[in-house]
């Protein structure tokens, strides 16, 4: 009952958060320099042309009026029409969301694998040169931003050793039998591993670029937790029973040490989605981030609003899920 009340309360605060985001975004993108009509009009246009187009896009109304019209539409599921693409914003945004989600999930999986490997290896080699080497590698991975990793990966695996594709989501000449925009997921369901391999070869480098800094964070945190756990009594007991070091780390210490890392992974996933904006641009990946940059460059106000609202919904939904999961797992929170 207490949990249900907490969930309802959290949903209510989420709604307020989204409303706040909507208001802030709506106002900010209209206050910052850059009028979409000024960008649209060619030299030679008259004041009358400016007025005509301003009215046509509804920008001649007051800010509160514009907001109410837009918010009313959003409540009915109508996010307006993109100024540049002349398509419904919701269709554009939902059409790109699967690509970004797949990229983010792949990056998360890679980050967990790399980070987990670094943590386990570092713990196994603690106190030796091996641990120091892993710490140095972790430091490097963390200090270089993801877009720079992207450039390095393009140079290494796109140009010098062209093993992977460096742009797009899939080879344009391929016929895609998909009915959804979740290409990677659907290719597996349809057992089309030829398409799956092609999609992975496009996604791998951007996902890796996103994953490397996160892997370093996961690696550091998990290694720290593991090292602390290795001194606990039950781990010492396992050793005295004659279990080898690998067994002790993987079977005994990891179970307890992994909990804080799991919480971190949940929170970091939302940041990972935010990080796709630059990486998608660099790899010409047709996701939400790439769309967002175009929208900002072109001052496509309805599209910017739609994308930001969707990002906010994802962020709050993931955070909500993490909080609920934490409440379920943690008895102290569950029982107040």
């Amino acid at each position: 009952m207490q949990l249900l009340r907490a969930v309802l309360l959290r949903l209510a605060t989420t709604a307020v958060t989204l409303l706040g985001v909507a208001v802030i975004v709506f106002v900010v993108i209209r206050v910052v320099p850059g009028n979409p009509i000024a960008m649209m009009l060619p030299p030679g246009a008259t004041e009358a042309d400016v007025a005509r187009l301003t009215a046509q896009y509804g920008l001649d109304k007051s800010l509160p009026e514009q907001f109410l019209i837009w918010a009313g539409g959003v409540l009915r599921g109508d996010f307006g029409l993109s100024i540049t693409a002349r398509q419904p914003v919701l269709d554009l945004v939902l059409g790109r969301l699967p690509a970004t989600l797949e990229l983010s999930v792949m990056a998360l999986v890679i980050a967990c694998l790399l980070g987990g490997f670094a943590a386990l290896t570092g713990t196994r080699a603690r106190g030796t040169g091996g641990e120091a080497a892993i710490d140095v590698a972790n430091g490097m991975a963390l200090s270089i931003p993801d877009f720079l990793w992207g450039l390095i990966l393009v140079l290494l695996f796109g140009v010098l050793w062209p093993l992977f594709h460096i742009s797009g989501r899939v080879t344009p000449s391929l016929e895609l039998p998909f009915t959804t925009d979740f290409y990677l997921f659907e290719s597996v369901l349809r057992l089309r591993f030829d398409l799956w391999a092609n999609i992975v070869s496009h996604m791998f480098l951007p996902a890796l670029a996103l994953a490397i800094p996160l892997a370093a964070i996961i690696g550091q945190l998990l290694k720290q937790s593991l090292k602390e756990t290795m001194h606990l009594d039950y781990v010492t007991l396992a050793r005295t029973k004659g279990y080898g070091e690998n067994h002790v780390i993987l079977r005994e210490a990891l179970r307890n040490a992994i909990l804080p890392t799991l919480t971190l992974v949940g929170v970091q996933f939302t940041f990972l989605i935010g990080g796709t904006v630059i990486i998608e641009r660099l790899f010409s990946y047709e996701g939400l981030g790439n769309l967002a940059i175009d929208a900002v460059i072109n001052r496509d106000l309805p599209l910017i609003q739609g994308i930001v609202i969707l990002f906010a919904v994802i962020f709050t939904a993931v955070n909500l899920c993490v909080d609920l999961l934490y409440a379920v797992l943690n008895p102290r929170l569950r029982h107040g």
Binding site: G34, A38, G44, A45, Q56, R86, S167, P172
Partner: protein, 506 residues
């Protein structure tokens, strides 16, 4: 060679990876031409919305749609869907003869009705054409056989030039009316050299050759245009062989790669300039003239742009109709010092103003302004640089609130003086910055001048006046670098449009 278990394992993994993912196609055998394009295509309607007036997209539009009149790579007009055109004797009507035997991509006939419908459509304010102010100068469009006639509401000497400029495209009347705007976005058709086979927004467009194209079937039967907006990624695309052609790469990369790939760098109709606003110290002619004479344009081009640029002293480039090579503004720092001294300024007592610029919007824009500010400092001008986004420039310019000096680039692929000097310098225009009455009086009669020779001479006189009074500082004409695989010959177009149907096999 000894092969142990570990080596075999490594080779197996590498082989599996190569087999599964496949190496990108190399350039030697080009069946499908792949172009890494520098912008994305937001909309397929080339006549309305912001995309319609985005010069960088026009190359994609021109691959699918024909314009009313064809524009050749040197910017000169040639018969296209219209084979002949002109005014009647008293300039109250325009007439156009429509090419016969042309088919739309769906196989239906292109007719004079299509031309009349398109002209009427963009003249209607409700369609949202950003160029309605031009198309609205014609009315009562009608068809007589294979001719289209329209009444002249207001004489515009450039009306036929707009027919190969922004929004001057011909869309299929019957098809558009049948499928509507949304249906057209989903499946656009034109009469152009290529047909749209597949389009993924923000990713690529795949084109199939129009074998029945009236201008002859294109050489490459399939063309994929990938939207690769990051310059470093475009370089990697051609260097790795993933793409066969790309454009707008940094000049240093162009110089590095043209040894292994094919490079063509030709001037395009895009210029770099400094707007001078008639406010603060810029109302002093000595300050303006000193600012103009203190800039060593050729050295800036050589040092910052690796020599890829053409020095200009008016807003007209050599390809434009009103270009006058006799109008020059020399680099003369001594004269700049004298002019400033006449107004009481010196190195110790410099004249101060702000200069605005973008950073990274055009090649080395910020660096050029930095160099100019350095040159100005030597003669007694202290300019403070303010960096802004291009969107802010448009907004400030429309509101006539630019700083005393503002760097900008101006495109004019139609090569007429009205769309370069005219729109940039005519005070009442919301896109002009200089509001001097004398210049307005000089330009006013030229808008409606029916004698073409007299009109061009008039614009040359305007350019001379602007140069003498230093009302703007033209800097350079840009050069567009294009890289292609060894098997591809690219014909550059002075408009800057990269056109696949002008590409041939070597």
């Amino acid at each position: 060679m000894n092969l142990n278990r570990r080596t075999m394992l490594k080779l197996s993994v590498a082989g599996t990876a190569l087999g599964a993912f496949g190496l990108p196609a190399l350039a030697q055998q080009i069946d499908e031409l792949v172009i890494a394009y520098n912008v994305t295509l937001p909309s397929w309607d080339p006549t309305v919305g912001p995309s319609a007036v985005n010069p960088t997209i026009q190359g994609i539009y021109q691959s699918v749609f024909d314009q009313f009149i064809l524009q050749q790579p040197d910017l000169k007009p040639a018969p296209g869907l219209l084979t002949e055109w002109g005014w009647n004797e008293d300039y109250t009507q325009v007439w156009m003869t429509v090419r016969e035997g042309v088919k739309w991509h769906d196989g239906s006939d292109f007719t004079a009705e299509d031309v009349a419908w398109n002209l009427a459509r963009v003249a209607n304010p409700e369609t949202g054409s950003p160029i309605q102010f031009v198309w609205g100068t014609l009315a009562n469009h009608r068809v007589e056989g294979n001719k289209v006639i329209a009444d002249v509401v207001q004489f515009d000497p450039t009306i036929f030039k707009w027919m190969y400029f922004l929004t001057g495209y011909v869309l299929p009347k019957a098809y558009y009316e049948k499928v509507g705007a949304e249906g057209f976005e989903a499946a656009p058709i034109g009469t152009g050299p290529y047909m749209v086979e597949k389009f993924e927004r923000n990713a690529f467009v795949r084109l199939k050759a129009n074998e029945n194209y009236w201008g002859g079937a294109p050489e490459f039967k399939t063309v994929t245009i990938k939207f690769v907006t990051d310059a470093a990624a475009r370089v990697a695309e051609v260097e790795s062989g993933n793409s066969h052609v790309t454009l707008e790469v940094p000049y240093e990369e162009y110089d590095r790669l043209k040894a292994t790939l094919t490079g063509v760098a030709a001037p395009v109709s895009d210029i770099g300039m400094i707007f001078l606003n008639d406010i603060e110290v810029m109302t002093d002619p000595n300050v303006r003239k000193a600012a103009a004479h203190a800039i060593d344009k050729q050295t800036i081009i050589d040092r910052l742009l690796s020599g890829y640029g053409v020095k200009i002293d008016t807003l007209e480039t050599p390809e434009y109709d009103a270009y006058d090579p006799s109008i020059t503004v020399d680099y003369n720092p001594e004269k700049a010092v004298e002019l400033l001294a006449a107004s009481g300024y010196s190195v110790d007592n410099p004249v101060k103003f702000k200069i605005q610029t973008t950073k990274g919007f055009k090649p080395k824009d910020y660096e050029m302004v930095q160099a100019i500010v350095g040159l100005w400092r030597k003669v007694g001008i202290e300019a403070e640089i303010e960096v802004y986004e291009i969107a802010k420039h448009y907004e400030l310019r429309a509101a006539d609130q630019l700083a005393p000096a503002a760097f900008y680039n101006w495109g004019n692929s139609v090569a007429d003086p009205t769309t370069s000097t005219g729109f940039a310098m005519y005070g009442p225009s919301p896109h002009s910055v200089w509001d001097g009455q004398e210049l307005i009086d000089m330009i006013n009669p030229l808008w409606g001048e029916k004698d073409e020779a007299k009109r061009i001479e008039g614009w040359k006189a305007v350019s001379k006046y602007i140069a003498d009074e230093a009302l703007v500082i033209p800097l350079l004409q840009y050069v567009q670098p294009i890289l292609s695989a060894k098997g591809v010959v690219v014909t550059p177009h002075a408009s800057g449009a990269l056109l696949p149907h002008l590409m041939k096999r070597a």
